[in-house]
């Protein structure tokens, strides 16, 4: 069964017909072709499908699309303009904070939320906040360095 809902994805705002049992992740990938959100576990444990829902990191694999109605949805594709990088993305590049990068969009979006809540996180705070995003390649130390660096860059920018 389909239902028409109003979704706001990466600045767009439109009515869309979705299956009532389809997750936000399925709709983002099949309808919007935003491939930056990826299924890793399907049960909200790994964070590879993380998107921001009203600026809060959310596992899109366990959220029915219909329940995201009216909320601002940001995927990695909506984080920056094409050709421009967000300071967090630049910090991830500069520290090579990834290997296979399947998890990277999730880490970057969670980092955005972390730094919005806490612009000066300690290493312990970073680790605690990002513990819900898994990196099987084990790039954690470079991710930690990238997040510290991104925080410093973003503070410098806003100061």
């Amino acid at each position: 069964m389909k239902q028409i809902i109003r979704l706001k994805v990466n600045g767009s705002d439109e009515e869309i017909a979705v299956h009532t049992h389809h997750t936000l992740l399925e709709v983002l990938r099949t309808e919007y072709k935003f491939f930056g959100a990826r299924e890793g576990c399907g049960i909200g444990m790994c964070g590879a499908c993380t998107v921001l829902l009203d600026d809060k990191p959310t596992s899109s694999c366990i959220l029915l699309a219909a329940l995201a109605e009216g909320k601002q949805i940001t995927t990695i594709e909506g984080l920056s303009e094409p050709g421009k990088l967000h300071p967090i993305q630049q910090a991830f590049i500069d520290h090579n904070a990834f290997q296979c990068s399947y998890c990277t969009p999730g880490f970057i979006l969670s980092t955005k939320s972390l730094l919005a809540e806490n612009p000066t996180p300690t290493v312990e705070e970073i680790r605690s906040y990002l513990a819900g995003n898994l990196c099987r390649c084990g790039s954690y130390y470079k991710i930690q360095a990238a997040v510290l660096d991104a925080a410093a860059r973003m503070r410098g920018k806003t100061a």
Binding site: C100, S101, L134
Partner: protein, 762 residues
């Protein structure tokens, strides 16, 4: 990494993203029984369901269709879907392709299968008992290309393979030893968990099969698919995008046969993406039991070692016999042991098939021999660091395989690992006399060390083509797979260095077997070494062509020409020079293509295990410090210091990432990763909630990765796996030094530690 921007913007393409016109969704029906005869498969209702493009069952194979449907890396023991029997819970029985997921799922529910249950064997010891239920009967046919690597055996048993290594006289060695110690260590099944699951899309049209697949072995997949479809290699095209992790899981045929047969039958492209739950029943690390007996003199000199190892390869052997061989051939460790006798077997059972996993049999081996090294040191009252130092292999020593070793750096590696955790002899709990008098808190700390020697696949072959374009830019055409290890970046660096072409003028291909030259596989930590060497040779060929063509154009002798700053110039006459692009244009060949191949030779005798096991041996050591909570049994790893011999480091940051990745991967296997089966062979923890992998919460506060180089050599050593195998023993040794608990079964769960602490107290 070169493609970093695509990676942080989420735009990099994985096979997961592949979409084709009119593509159907494939799904697999799996066995609910560990071992059963299939009495009936009726797919009639599924076929009649609206929206179903094809249903694949055993009726699509056999003499009637001219398609055997049988495959397997070492033995042809697997079929596209189950024919007569199912052999583990999760074994594919049938498959459907339909317009969407929901229709495919509904169609699966309409397939009727009747089973007749058979007795099952789950454990490697049980499977080898006389009279045990046979997983395969008759014995499956061996692939001819493995006849010199794996000895074929008589049927009538679940014994799949038996690797033997015989050096010296182990009985005599035990007779002359002052002490002989025997211990048994076990490793459980564990998952690879690449975050990108297995994914395959396939299209069959006009007698040509095209497969997009998340694999580490494009050419091996092509060869096996060509055999299954009775097609020449040229009519099978395998395309591989970047992988969302592999770790060995994406090597053998997995989804390719089912997807491609569905596509052929449906006459439409089909794509299958495994769910995480299905990943768990697709491939895993070999559970293994390793019995190790070591003879030693009072002063700590190792004399003899006998090992009997059983690797549980599950229902289908995949590459298991080679895993058992690789683990077996390294069981003497990085030590001088005059007398060695090793028997390492792969055993068929009714559990999830086991295959290659980062380390390839060596993690199970090191877990055993490095734990035992500390146990022996304690029994002899020696410092485990000194005990290891005394026995280390040195330059020109002869290894257990009979080959002479060169470029050996175990001493520096051990010193590096020990100094990075400030090891002192009192860190061995049995040498710390003040320990008993210390006021103890519930949290106890301990340090541990472990070492590793590991082969890289030998013989092996890689080929590369360098296409120099009319503007002087370079296409590097290769079939190495980018799994996140940075292969494309490192190989571009090597091409750039050899050709003096800047990186922004170089593009490295993704594998496409229609276009890119042969490569054996992206595994065994071989890509930088093997493909890097092929690229260096291709660059040599290309430079020769540049010189020859420039000589003709400049009317000079090739001997008078020099290559400088991406130009060819007449020596001593700088104005008479040509850029690479000009030479390509003026050569009237369109572009210049340099070709290079690199292959290594070797092999071990089937009866004695003597020969060349590895073109060079990967070497590493690790130190760690842990804190054990004696009230909860929980282990916290405080520090890890992986040290590897890298020969020559091409990209330091990527090298660090490999070492850190290995250490963290090993930490998961040490502390909590274990596939748990129920009484009927069904896996109980098939998701990432019940099966944990390391997160930010689990990793040590500090990691200190070190890559040693040999300044006098340009030799490249692979570093992608070396530091995983010793992690478990290093942590085990540290736990022992912290609380005196010696575990012999991985992983070290808090429950096990607490139980042992309780037993000791009682």
């Amino acid at each position: 990494m070169l493609d970093a921007e695509e990676r942080v913007t989420g735009r990099i393409n994985y096979t997961l993203n592949v979409e084709l016109p009119a593509m159907l969704v494939g799904k697999i029906l799996r066995s609910p029984f560990p071992h059963a005869r299939i009495v009936r498969v009726d797919a009639g209702r599924a076929e009649r369901l609206s929206g179903v493009g094809a249903v694949l069952t055993r009726d699509d194979f056999g003499a009637r269709t001219g398609c055997s449907g049988r495959y397997g890396r070492v033995f042809r023991d697997q079929t596209v879907v189950a024919f007569d029997k199912v052999r583990f819970v999760g074994d594919p029985v049938a498959a459907v392709a339909a317009l969407d997921e929901d229709t495919a799922a509904e169609a699966l529910s309409l397939i009727e299968v009747d089973y007749d249950e058979l007795p099952a064997v789950f454990d490697e010891a049980e499977a080898l008992k006389p009279g045990a239920s046979l997983v395969h009967d008759p014995r499956p046919e061996q692939q001819p290309m493995f006849s010199k690597i794996i000895e074929d055996l008589p049927g009538g048993s679940n014994l799949c393979s038996h690797f033997k290594l015989r050096r010296g006289d182990v009985e005599e060695g035990f007779r002359t030893s002052d002490f002989v110690f025997e211990d048994v260590f076990r490793s459980p099944a564990a998952q690879h968990v690449p975050l990108e699951p297995h994914v395959t899309a396939a299209h069959y049209a006009r007698e040509k099969l095209t497969v997009w697949t998340s694999t580490q072995m494009p050419h091996a997949i092509r060869a096996q698919m060509a055999e299954l479809f009775n097609l020449p290699l040229a009519r099978v095209r395998v395309i591989v995008e970047t992988l969302g992790g592999g770790f060995g899981s994406k090597g053998s045929l997995r989804l390719e046969p089912i997807t491609a047969f569905l596509a052929m039958k449906a006459r439409q492209p089909v794509k299958i993406v495994l769910s995480r739950e299905e990943e768990f029943v697709t491939v895993c690390k070999h559970p293994a039991t390793v019995r190790i007996k070591t003879g030693v003199m009072k002063d700590g000199a190792l004399v003899a070692r006998q090992v009997s190892a059983d690797f549980n390869t599950g229902a289908y052997s995949d590459i298991g016999p080679v895993v058992a061989r690789n683990g077996g051939s390294a069981m003497s460790g990085p030590y001088r042991i005059p007398h060695v006798r090793i028997d390492s077997r792969a055993v068929w059972t009714n559990v999830v098939p086991a295959g290659a996993l980062r380390g390839f049999g060596v993690p199970q081996a090191v877990w055993a021999y490095e734990s035992q090294m500390d146990m022996i040191a304690e029994r002899l009252g020696l410092d485990p660091l000194e005990f290891r130092r005394k026995n280390l292999l040195r330059e020109h020593d002869v290894f257990a395989t009979g080959e002479e070793l060169a470029d050996i750096h175990f001493k520096e590696l051990l010193d590096q690992a020990a100094s990075s955790i400030n090891w002192s002899s009192s860190d061995a709990c049995w040498l710390n006399s003040e320990r008993a008098n210390q006021k103890r808190s519930a949290l106890r700390r301990g340090k541990g060390l472990a070492m590793v020697i590991k082969a890289t696949i030998t013989p092996s072959t890689s080929a590369a083509a360098l296409k120099l374009n009319e503007d002087g830019s370079l296409n590097v055409l290769i079939s190495s797979v980018e799994c996140g290890q940075g292969a494309k970046t490192v190989l571009a660096q090597i091409a750039s260095h050899e050709m003096q072409i800047p990186l922004n003028h170089i593009a490295v291909s993704d594998p496409d077997t229609d276009l890119t030259p042969y490569d054996q596989q992206t595994s065994s930590s071989r890509t930088t070494y093997s493909m890097g060497s092929a690229i260096t040779r291709a660059a040599g060929d290309l430079k020769r062509q540049l010189l020859d063509n420039a000589a003709e154009i400049l009317e000079a002798s090739p001997n008078d020409l020099v290559i400088e700053n991406a130009r060819v110039a007449v020596r001593g006459s700088a104005q008479r020079s040509l850029g690479y692009g000009e030479i390509a244009r003026l050569s009237n060949q369109g572009n210049l293509i340099g070709r290079g191949a690199f292959s290594t030779r070797g092999g071990l005798d089937l009866q004695t295990g003597q020969g060349i096991g590895s073109v060079h041996w990967h070497q590493g050591a690790i130190g760690c410090e842990v804190e054990v909570d004696t009230e909860t049994g929980k282990i916290k790893v405080l520090r890890l210091s992986p040290s590897v011999f890298a020969g020559h480091v091409v990209n330091r940051r990527l090298c660090e990432l490999q070492l850190e990745g290995c250490a963290i991967f090993g930490l998961g296997q040490a502390l909590f990763e274990e596939m748990i089966y129920g009484d009927h062979g069904q896996l109980l923890n098939v998701n990432l909630s019940d099966y944990n992998i390391p997160s930010f919460d689990d990793i040590p506060a500090e990691i200190c990765a070190a890559a040693l180089e040999n300044a006098s050599s340009e030799d490249l050593h692979g570093i992608g796996e070396t530091l995983l195998p010793p992690v478990m023993a290093a942590i085990g040794n540290a736990v022992y030094n912290a609380v005196g608990v010696r575990l012999r079964d991985l992983p070290f769960t808090a429950e096990k530690v607490l139980r042992e602490l309780g037993a000791r107290a009682a």
